[in-house]
């Protein structure tokens, strides 16, 4: 029997479904979710995902702390979020049920691995009675599936060790869900083959478990019907499914190619940024140098050294690392060298919630350095946008000889979405030029190189890299004489340089697209967003509009400087709401800049906004405006 066989059960069409896989950290739920996503992507659905795992590598088995979950939203139309509440929860053990139940919609479906609901596990999960029996699940559709035992049985003949047999149960779950939601099995099979090819027994066990799950759906009398979520009608093109961190890494590789400069990554591992280091470490064919430094300061230091040498210098980190890089960032501002600092934001302050998402580093990105040390800040808004944001950040850095902070967050980093691949030929040319000749005539007629002589339009300084004959010069973090670049303690020169550095960054406003407003022209309410709230805002705004209410929205990619038209745009609306995963950081910035009474819609819970939350908030604001 294969997945193309006629379904034995009636097929019910859904326009979307949100499934949440949850189990112990060791249960392989991230992998299961990932595979289900991949198959759905290949099938043509639109989708969005939300991995959600604990900070411990593997907390004690069976406890709620050890629960690892993966939510995926698949749809036959354009969607923007991993879904508000789960329609289906797959709970591999009591702890998973206990910790995730509140995320399931009322009346939702719950599949439990009933084999794990023994007294020991119930106790570990903190249940004093069995929720399968005590009415806890009243109102839900519950399927009790003996996943462990059926898996063990399915692999019994393969000579697999019991521990490995048990480990395959996530493939059983995947097979069953694939049956339920009419996902093709073939891609998963191919993947299992590629991944476990070397280990024949494990390969066979996983394949067997996968098929057993499918078969169980097909044959067991438990399920009344299968579901189908048709492919979405997406723009034609070649698609892949990509997480934000992968897209960002690829964007950096692309930037390096587009700039025709070797890529140098100086980084220190930190959740949730490490995967960019991991991904880039693979791409030696692209001439990418990755350097795992002794700490974040060395990471940015090495990147700055490479940048000084004419490489595209990048450092990747998360909040605690950004804090550590502050001083070196200030040096980069003073040196006016291109440098990318990628901050994958996570819950703070301090160590905070290392595996959870947040967007509370914005003010630090703008102001987290001593002295007047302005720099551009760019924020990605979706997993695939991380690719383009990386190129844009590099473009600005190179053109303006400035460090740029690129903000992403844990949600974008680990979340996936289908991405229509761009034509490489359409990507921008971001090459810059190094000085090769003197740029100044001294009074006595000698030709000299002045490292702080500027392009009159961009105010970018001339840049000569070591190895260039005749242009030897010295730069440093002490204030420099305008033009010449020698040390200068002269008061008026310092002020001039402070203003020049500020003007250079401010001037970038003319070199970035104006912010566009999406929505009703005559709306009273503007929703202003930045970063990963994009998806939730999009979904919420659509819902509000679907109710016939007028609403407009704008989303910022450039946080410093702001697009030139932002003040004008904000001025057009009676009310501006700013959803932020912080206490109101962009809100503060636009209030200060434009004196508009913008109001934050704040959520600081380590999880993204749901569309429903925002919808309610927007509707309330509209009601207020109309009252």
């Amino acid at each position: 029997m294969t997945e193309t066989a006629q379904p034995a059960r009636p097929l019910q069409r859904l326009d979307h479904v949100v499934i949440r896989f949850a189990g112990d950290s060791g249960d392989g739920m991230q992998l299961t979710g990932d595979r289900f996503t991949s198959a759905s992507a290949l099938f043509g659905n639109d989708l969005a995902t939300l991995p959600d795992f604990p900070a411990e590598i593997r907390a004690p088995a069976g406890t709620v702390h050890g629960v690892s979950a993966f939510q995926v939203h698949i749809s036959d139309h354009d969607i923007h979020t991993p879904g508000d509440a789960a329609n289906v929860l797959v709970a591999m053990n009591p702890a998973a049920l206990r910790s995730e139940l509140h995320l399931v919609e009322p009346g939702g479906t719950i599949l439990v691995n009933v084999d794990t609901f023994d007294e020991r596990n119930l106790k570990k999960a903190g249940y004093s009675s069995n929720p399968l029996e005590d009415g806890t699940l009243a109102g839900y559709t519950v399927y009790e599936v003996p996943m462990t035992s059926m898996t063990v049985e399915a692999v019994a003949d393969l000579g697999v060790k019991p521990r490995d047999a048990d480990r395959s149960k996530n493939f059983f779950a995947l097979g069953l869900l694939s049956w339920m939601y009419s996902r093709p099995l073939e891609p998963t099979r191919r993947w299992v083959e590629a991944r476990f090819g070397r280990n024949e027994k494990v390969l066979a066990a996983n394949q067997a478990a996968l098929q057993a799950g499918w078969n169980f759906g097909e044959t067991a009398e438990l399920f009344e019907h299968r579901f189908e979520v048709a492919p979405a009608t997406l723009e034609p093109g070649t698609y892949t499914s990509v997480t934000g961190n992968t897209a960002l890494a690829w964007g950096l590789v692309a930037a390096s190619q587009l700039a025709d400069m070797p890529l140098f990554l100086g980084s220190y591992p930190i959740t949730p940024a490490s995967d960019i280091l991991h991904e880039l470490s693979k791409h030696k064919r692209f001439g990418v140098r990755t350097f795992q430094a002794e700490d974040e300061i060395a990471g940015i230091g090495a990147a700055l050294g490479a940048a000084y040498g004419g490489h595209l210098g990048v450092t990747t980190t998360s909040g605690p690392g950004l804090s550590l890089k502050a001083e070196t960032l200030g040096l980069a501002v003073s040196l006016e060298l291109p440098l990318l600092v990628v901050d994958i934001q996570r819950g703070g302050p301090s160590t905070g919630l290392p595996t959870k998402t947040e967007a509370a580093d914005l003010l630090q990105a703008l102001y987290g350095r001593h002295g007047e040390a302005p720099l551009p800040v760019v924020a990605a808004y979706s997993p695939s946008h991380c690719f383009f944001a990386a190129i844009e950040a590099a473009r600005i850095a190179l053109k303006y000889r400035t460090p740029v902070i690129l903000l992403s967050d844990g949600y974008l980093a680990n979340g996936a979405e289908p991405w229509r691949l761009p034509d490489v030929a359409d990507l921008p040319d971001i090459r810059t030029t190094f000085a090769t000749e003197p740029n100044h005539l001294a009074e006595d007629g000698t030709a000299e190189f002045w490292p702080y002589k500027r392009d009159p339009d961009t105010l970018a300084r001339d840049w000569a890299i070591p190895g260039t004959p005749g242009l030897m010069h010295r730069i440093g973090g002490i204030e420099k004489q305008d033009g010449r670049g020698d040390i200068s303690y002269e008061p008026a020169n310092h002020e001039r340089m402070v203003h020049l550095r500020a003007a250079k960054i401010a001037g970038i406003a003319d070199d970035i697209p104006p912010v566009t407003v999406d929505g009703d022209d005559d709306a009273d309410l503007l929703v202003l967003g930045w970063g990963s709230t994009w998806g939730s805002i999009s979904a919420a705004v659509e819902r509000v509009r679907a109710r016939g209410r007028r609403i407009a929205r704008a989303h910022l990619v450039h946080l410093s400087p702001f697009p030139a038209n932002l003040g004008e745009v904000l001025g057009r609306y009676r009310k501006v709401l700013v959803p932020e995963m912080n206490l109101g950081q962009l809100t503060r910035l636009v209030r200060a800049e434009f004196l508009v009474d913008a109001e934050v819609v704040s959520k600081v819970q380590g999880v993204p906004f749901t569309a429903g939350e925002l919808e309610r908030r927007f509707l309330a604001a509209l009601d207020e405006l109309e009252a």
């Binding site: 290949l42 002794e294 190895g467 030897m472």
Partner: protein, 337 residues
């Protein structure tokens, strides 16, 4: 290097006025470097001097090369990036005892263990000069300074021991009173492929005058400086009447040659992969008040970091060809709509 056009000292001096205190030992180190470079057949445009912050760290401004005066303690990290990215350059790091061993200690030891191709000159004046006289991690216990009016309590580092403990492949010491010795030592450091660490005893005549006088003064040198020479028995003194032996516990000691016989002397071997000998020699003197070895303590071969990194890139490209961006974007599962 014979085809490299010749340069003179003038070619290596920038137009910047040298702003150290009159009498500072930094001047003679600068002169030694500016005199040495023409001899090496290298080019100013392929040479970079990197530094952190401190009096010593002003060094790059005075060299007519590429120069980067960075921030306190971070020069070895910045140099690591530069040397990895640009193996074609000669990268020098100039640092102080505070810059290199206090705030910058971690970057220093990691650059050493990785064997990054940089030449590190640590100007050890046993004081913080630029901030006007606080004790440093190499100051002796009991030192009275602005921040220790009752005497400091911190046991000092021995910079060479630190370096050797951190897997350094090249470790040497010289001092600012002997231009020839400096030039020779810097030449050796520059020749070394990998991270070369040179401690330079440097007099800060304003805040720690005479710190090394007991061993570097002209009339003290022959009794107090032990010139290490590879392959030779370690002897010193006006008549070579003193020498160094290693006892059964691996402890290096100064002896009268007459007492032990010339054959008992330790023969210096800078090339031993095993660093214990170099370490024992680094412990011979507990400070610049007893006979102190100078010269090259250790010079061994180990793969140079930047070269290894480049080799990995080259291997990947040789095997699979250069990367193709369009292909990269399609490297995961793709589907057509």
């Amino acid at each position: 290097m014979s085809d490299a056009p010749t340069t003179t000292r003038k070619d290596w001096a920038s137009d910047q006025e040298v702003r150290w205190c009159p009498g500072c030992g930094d001047y003679s180190i600068l002169a030694a470097v500016q005199l040495l470079l023409p001899e090496l057949g290298v080019r100013p445009e392929n040479t970079v001097f990197l530094s952190g912050i401190g009096c010593a760290a002003r060094f790059p401004y005075y060299m007519n090369t590429y120069g980067l005066h960075s921030i306190h303690g971070r020069a070895p990290a910045i140099a690591t990036g530069l040397a990895m990215a640009r193996p074609d350059l000669d990268v020098w790091v100039v640092t102080g005892d505070g810059d290199g061993l206090s705030i910058g200690g971690n970057h220093l030891i990691h650059a050493l263990r990785r064997n990054v191709n940089i030449t590190i000159l640590l100007f050890n004046n046993q004081i913080y000069g630029l901030t006007k006289g606080q004790f440093s991690p190499t100051s002796e216990i009991g030192k009275v300074t602005k921040s220790t009016p009752f005497g400091s309590l911190d046991a000092p580092f021995n910079p060479l021991s630190v370096a050797i403990g951190a897997e350094a492949t090249f470790v040497a010491r010289t001092h600012d009173m002997d231009r020839k010795h400096m030039m020779e030592t810097f030449r050796r450091a520059h020749e070394h492929r990998g991270a070369a660490f040179v401690e330079v005893y440097q007099n800060c005549n304003v805040f720690n005058d005479g710190a090394f006088g007991a061993i570097t003064a002209k009339d003290k040198r022959s009794e107090m400086l032990i010139d290490l020479r590879h392959g030779e028995p370690i002897r010193f003194g006006p008549e070579g009447e003193r020498g160094v032996v290693l006892d059964a516990q691996g402890h290096a000691r100064v002896v009268d040659v007459a007492d032990v016989g010339a054959d008992a002397l330790l023969v210096h071997d800078e090339q031993r992969a095993e660093p214990s000998l170099a370490f024992a020699l680094s412990r011979l003197s507990r400070g610049p008040f007893e006979p102190t070895p100078i010269g090259v303590f250790r010079a061994v071969e180990r793969p140079e970091y930047g070269a290894s990194v480049s080799a990995q890139l080259a291997a990947a490209q040789d095997q699979h060809g250069p990367g193709d961006l369009a292909e990269l974007l399609r490297s995961g599962a793709t589907w057509e709509v």
